[in-house]
Symmetry: C2
Amino acid sequence: MSNERLIFLTNDDSYLSKGFRHAVALASEFGRVIAIAPDRVQSGMSQAITIHSPLFLRQVECNERVEIYAFSGTPVDCAKIAFDHFFAERKVDLVLSGINHGSNAAVNVMYSGTMGAAIEGSFYGVPSIGLSLDDHDADADFAGAVEYGRKIIAQLLDAAERLPRPLCLNVNVPRCAAADIRGIRLSRQTRGFWREDFYARQDPHGRDYFWLTGAFCNAEPEAEDTDEWALANNYVAVVPVQVDMTDYKMLSSLDGVIK
Amino acid sequence: MSNERLIFLTNDDSYLSKGFRHAVALASEFGRVIAIAPDRVQSGMSQAITIHSPLFLRQVECNERVEIYAFSGTPVDCAKIAFDHFFAERKVDLVLSGINHGSNAAVNVMYSGTMGAAIEGSFYGVPSIGLSLDDHDADADFAGAVEYGRKIIAQLLDAAERLPRPLCLNVNVPRCAAADIRGIRLSRQTRGFWREDFYARQDPHGRDYFWLTGAFCNAEPEAEDTDEWALANNYVAVVPVQVDMTDYKMLSSLDGVIK
């Protein structure tokens, strides 16, 4: 039965990343996998789409269980071509984006290409998971992310028919050893923003250049219902994500002010 | 008095676009303008940031009222370097992003580099406006966008001190002649998604390539409180934007399901 499921897989670290290989193995436990992933690192690409350039697609792997394509677009481009060109009328059972090298908790959900693709996938009515490990190391240990990813995928597939759409989960796994993970916590997105330090330098031709580097400032570190709190306390954080960005409270405040 | 205000200006169509030149003129009516804008078109770049490349900055214009810099990063990179490097301790009174060639109503708020920069600016506690005209033409008529942009900026600056933060407005101006605009409507983000058509071709070397092109599917065309309705009926749509993407309804639905 489960072998007949179709799972669309993508990420933002490219099809060459370690996290992606773990995701291929994990997803193929649940069904047939078609993966379209960026052909190069696309971290921090958010919901970006490619409007002004052609996009190149090539198959890099194909066997009974798994087809993998490398695509020259962004993670969202990968999701769009999958659903609007590849799958057309085929029913997809799950979108899995990841496993990302690095947390996408808190406001990172907005900058993340991994989450961009997961969100885009959910627009097609398919249950969607962005799965991230709180460790940027290219050789990070994905054991905990795989174990809890497996558990969450199974629970989501079991319940999918009775859950509303769009349905998108931002899943972040703490960096600790799998055995030290204390469980799963449904959470809300932590309030807080990044503040950057720009390394200013000059190139050999005297031109100013900058490297962006920064730190996340958690505006509510004590709030136990947030994803950052869950991660900091060795829980897997699961935040359901939606895309209505209207600030309804502000709408009331603006009544009579903007007219 | 108003001459002492400091306004940060950016966009996603680059410092060379017609909409940007209109924004420079408009913003300078309200104070001193420092603009850091992409050095090339960055449409559709969403909240993307540049993590793995150095970013180059050069001054392209400087007079008593206006300083303009071209930056090799994304719109969000422009906002980040402005606030975290340039302004440091200086008080900024307004962020203006635009004037965009093309609407950023509905879910376009998520793909838009213009709105990415406006949202990012609001993270620094500064009232922020993304201003867009529903016309992609490079030589579009910006008269209506300038007229209503002026009105909204004035109203926002007047009320800024008593409004909460973050404060970010997604302002979209209809394509009609300025005289035909019927007024301003506070609105919510329209529900709906894009569906793409990929033009599939082969290059001279036989490689498959694709162009992304699509259409927005409005899920609630009759809803008069939405930004798409406002635009379609020749109103300027103003949607306040926030970034908590938690799906709180889904959080309840997932209780006992994901555990």
